[in-house]
Symmetry: C2
Subunit: 256 residues, 2 copies
């Protein structure tokens, strides 16, 4: 199968001119088929604050009321997405900005209210891998904002890591997919105090062992569980690395 690299970058990278520009250089230089998924939470929080809307987070997820949905639709789908697309076009990459509504690429369902009412947050139901593959085969590079739609006319806010993971799973049926989660560290660290103690490879066996030993803990556990879920669903490998290192053989590789 042909190779496809999916890069997920958080808001911090794409919201500052210097780091965005470096990312665009690095991403442009990546050979072969590629796809970018971006966040934008800091800009959303900033705009919300300017508009007098309080940003309320639960378990790291944004409670998305009607006004907040407008803010994230503007920031993720407009400001951040179009700056990336224009930047990539300037570097000769034929990018197209997409939310889940565009071409119906990701349909979601509004998260049911249990303990928490997250509001207009979408849980992914279907990724249209065929449509994305059709674009990719035309040498078009999708740039995906963390927004989906419910098929009934409503946009929904959806976590960028989830967009990247679900897109990778859907495209794994059609490509040999490498999913790269850009991270603020060089990879998964053996010693949290030593930035150079990157664990090069984690398999399910090593993961269980590291959790028992306490080497891997806290927020890193769900992140790795999600990575293994992608690998189980056919994604060839998941890499956790610095955004500045996406062209290098670096970071932590998660594989079967």
């Amino acid at each position: 199968m042909e190779k496809l690299t999916i890069i997920k970058v958080g808001g911090k990278i794409v919201e500052e001119a210097d780091t965005l520009n470096q990312l665009l250089d690095n991403f442009s230089a990546l050979p072969g088929y590629k796809l970018l998924v971006h966040g934008g939470g800091r800009s959303a929080t900033k705009l919300a604050a300017q508009l007098g809307i309080e940003s309320q987070m639960v378990n790291g997820r944004r409670i998305t009321d009607a006004e907040t949905l407008k803010v994230v639709t503007m920031v993720y789908g407009g400001l951040v997405n179009k700056n990336i697309v224009a930047g990539l076009q300037a570097k000769g990459v034929n990018a197209i900005g997409l939310t889940g509504a565009d071409l119906n690429v990701i349909r979601s369902v509004k998260r049911p209210v249990k303990d928490v009412d997250y509001g207009f947050v979408g849980d992914v139901e279907a990724v249209n891998g065929e449509m994305l593959a059709s674009l990719i085969h035309q040498n078009i590079v999708p740039v995906m904002a963390p927004l989906t739609h419910d098929g009934k006319g409503n946009m929904l806010n959806t976590n960028a890591d989830t967009i990247a993971g679900e897109t990778a799973k859907a495209l794994a049926k059609l490509f040999d997919v490498t999913l790269v989660y850009c991270f603020e560290k060089k990879g998964v660290l053996r010693d949290a105090d030593d930035d150079d103690s990157v664990i090069p490879v984690i398999t399910p066996e090593l993961f269980r062992q590291y959790v028992v030993e306490g080497v891997i803990q806290g927020g890193m556990i769900p992140k790795l569980e999600n990575s293994f879920s992608a690998v189980e669903a056919g994604v060839s490998r998941v890499i956790i690395t610095l955004a500045s290192a996406i062209n290098q053989d670096a970071g932590t590789v998660i594989k079967k």
Copy 2:
């Protein structure tokens, strides 16, 4: 040649739930290949005001400083565009939201400063008709926001009427194009005080005659000059009509 209908709607129509929903119904019901161009100026002015940015207009055009560019990128490319796209998807239309940066469909140049410095406003240089035609032939419906890019990484604010006109001209090489400018009246009126006095057809000869007679005056003159420019460039016909009448044989037809 195959037929293509290009509909341009102003901000007023797409910014209010009732009129937007009616437009989506009418647009969905249009047979054949189609493309939508939208405005969004009222929402941009509103957001700018909420952020303490004064909206300064000269000759009906928005002076676009760096902060205003962010506002229009958010509002046109994000909020308004994605609401339309999600709304069309709900009605079974496979819409894709585009700015000029996406797929490099419209490249522009920052307007040179003469008497007025319009700021980050783009004058259209090139419309990629082949790329748009490729989407259209895949039964994808482009929904175009009034934003372009300069090919150097910058978004630029561009008038929606201009986007519609230039897109129609570029696609006239590939399709039999009807360009519909939605208007707040039923068409060009013979008597400004009688909403039913629609002039059914205007040719260049009739246009000159109506101007001499004072029947057509003011802002209607440049609007019609633009329409004739599109017709001269190969667009089959330009129609000026109500947004609620795009499926009807109504309004004023501008043709050679």
